[in-house]
Amino acid sequence: MNTLFWRTVKGAIGVFTAFGFLFLIGPLFVIVPLSFNAEPYFTFRPEMLMLDPEAFSLRWYENLFNDEEWHRALFNSFFIGICATILATTLGTLAAISLNQSNFPARRTVMALLISPMVTPIVIVGVSVFFFYSQPFIGLAQTYLGIILSHAMLGAPFVVITVTATLAGFNQTLMHAASSLGANAWTRFRRVQLPLISPGVITGGLFAFATSFDEVVVVLFMGGLEQRTLPRQMWSGIREEINPTILAVATLLIIFAVLVLFTVEWLRARTAKQLQPQ
């Protein structure tokens, strides 16, 4: 009786959990078939459910590949994303290495400062960088540089967090060994430390890239027409001209997300292997 009760409870929680996963992932898969809709609507037509080939078409993908605005948005997203990632990863990795020193002064306060972009409401980040960068003599509003700096700032905390986590498993005696073999600080960093923490650095970089790639509020407030990114273009699309081109973009972005995910998981697995005691 007692075990039966607990089993029922467990089963109920299991079902609830399964619904949780469905809730999380289900919406993504609704989009994919609709991006092949022959009609300019967001709704399933009865013909689509019958799998009538007439109801499906590639016209929205064609639209996408022929539209210069989407090309520019794609270029901007990658350009801004890559530049912001390089900046965030470099600064973030250096900071994490230095924070990992046991004698770092006021570590907790500094950490709180470095993480702060991640926990500042995005609307405030957007509003303040817009006001600040649009002042005379600064003039970075509606420039690539302004957006790259803001995105790098938003992405850096992720790098700090992931690299710090990797460094926690890093064996400092390796550095001492390298030092006793006569390696200078730069060589020690490049030949010993960096290879070992590189999975953490790359994961952090991917987080930073995803942050920039998905960011829309800063671009919306501060970006000019030249700097439109994919999310910004989708934002206009959803509000202005509702048609399944957006869904075609969405489908491609989901595929891209899956690719990124597997890269991250592969790197994680590699780190785990490396950190295992020989």
Binding site: L24, N103, P117, P121, I122, V123, V129, L253
Partner: protein, 392 residues
């Protein structure tokens, strides 16, 4: 490696965050209390009005000074900016001010005061003069007062906004309520999911991880769009309900462009931010702990509440903080699926930033929001420690 050298590697990022985040936030605070437009455009009038009693109409000399400066402002195209600032204090005064210099030359009234009153009888009232004097203050508390539904009366007293114009407090409260609700929903749904990920057999755990991470890596806009597709009246969910006869075809449920839509979409979008920190904490909780509790006679419920849950608290706190703060600043999802009742404070901030160009008010609203978040951040850091935050 000396102490100095070790810590100096963090300096570039510290400087970078200061320059790209803290300085802009500081300039935001300045913008919310400082506006010199009118003082600069009408310097002599500003000075003369400081000495004005405020109980009677100003002297004819002040009218003359104002006429002179308004005409000058019209030539330098400052007039509209002046009028818009005064209009924010006294709604309706924009047209009074902007037509005055144009018509002033054409009147044949004996003196400047009568000329003004002939142009618009509002110039014979005290209200517009009080508003003008207030607008010449370079430092003002007006924006902050307006952001909490109070107003600075022309005579300097503070009064609540009329009920028909009280907006912002309600929106702050609603934003807070929605953020708490979303955080609670994410916790309720996310906790068992994180538990399943952390303690399932390795094959299943991997699949579950992938299921959580795909949405995490998928664009926010993609996910918001998918909720529109699912929840709209001709959407997937309604289709399913109609197919199974749960609702009638002509009585489809409204689930988007209202609060339901906002809550559902925000919860789904933010769920990974709850699950990932929880998961990273749960994987480090030894399974032996609950086993030990059971062997000491605790039933599964007691073992969970007394032993497992307290150990997972740092994850709950980290996930809760992330979700709560992200939802407080939420803009995109409410703007797209919110409808009228699903509007949050950030939507009004965006309105004043982009459309009304009342940047001072946008800044004041943001500063209030920010102060709330900083308090929360400090509390979290005190009790949990921000340096313990982990993502997966």
């Amino acid at each position: 490696m000396g102490k100095l050298k070790a810590s100096s590697l963090a300096l570039p990022l510290i400087a970078f965050v200061v320059v790209t985040l803290l300085v802009p936030i500081f300039s935001l605070v300045r913008l919310s209390v400082y506006d010199s437009t009118v003082a600069e455009a009408l310097p002599k009038t500003a000075e003369a009005l400081q000495a004005w009693s405020g109980t009677d109409l100003p002297s004819i000399a002040i009218y003359e000074t104002l006429a002179e400066e308004l005409i000058a402002a019209q030539e330098t195209r400052e007039l509209g900016r002046v009028a818009s600032r005064v209009n924010r204090i006294l709604s309706g005064s924009r047209s009074t001010i902007s037509k005055t210099p144009r018509r002033f030359a054409r009147t044949d009234a004996p003196d400047a005061r009568q000329a003004f009153i002939e142009i618009d009888e509002d110039w014979g009232e005290l209200a517009i003069w009080h508003a003008l004097r207030q607008a010449t203050d370079t430092f003002t508390s007006r924006n902050f007062l307006q952001a909490v539904d109070f107003r600075l009366m022309p005579d300097g007293s503070i009064e609540r906004m009329p009920e028909s114009q009280q907006v912002y407090v309600t929106l702050f409260i609603r934003t807070l309520g929605v953020s708490i609700a979303v955080t609670a929903l994410c916790f309720l749904i996310g906790y068992p999911m994180a538990y399943a990920m952390a303690h399932a057999s390795s094959g299943l755990a991997l699949i579950l991880q992938v299921l959580v991470l795909i949405p995490f890596w998928t664009s926010l806009l993609v996910r918001t769009t998918s909720w529109i597709v699912i929840l709209q009246q001709q959407g997937v969910l309604n289709d399913i309900f109609v197919f199974f006869g749960i609702v009638a075809d002509d009585n489809r449920l409204t689930m988007v462009h209202n609060m339901t839509g906002t809550l559902v979409a925000m919860t789904q979008v933010l769920l990974p931010f709850m699950i990932l920190p929880l998961y990273s904490v749960m994987t480090n909780i030894p399974r032996d702990l609950t086993k030990a509790a059971s062997s000491l006679g605790a039933n599964p419920f007691q073992a969970f509440v007394r032993v497992y849950f307290p150990n997972s608290l740092p994850g709950v706190a980290a996930g809760g903080l992330l979700v709560f703060i992200l939802s407080i600043g939420y803009y995109i999802t409410p703007a797209l699926v919110g409808g009228s009742k699903g509007q949050l404070i950030s939507n009004l901030i965006a309105y004043h930033l982009q459309t009304s160009l009342n940047w001072g008010l946008a800044a004041a609203l943001s500063v209030i929001l920010l102060v709330g978040v900083i308090v929360l951040y400090i509390v979290y850091d005190r009790f949990i420690g921000i340096d313990r935050m982990k993502l997966g």
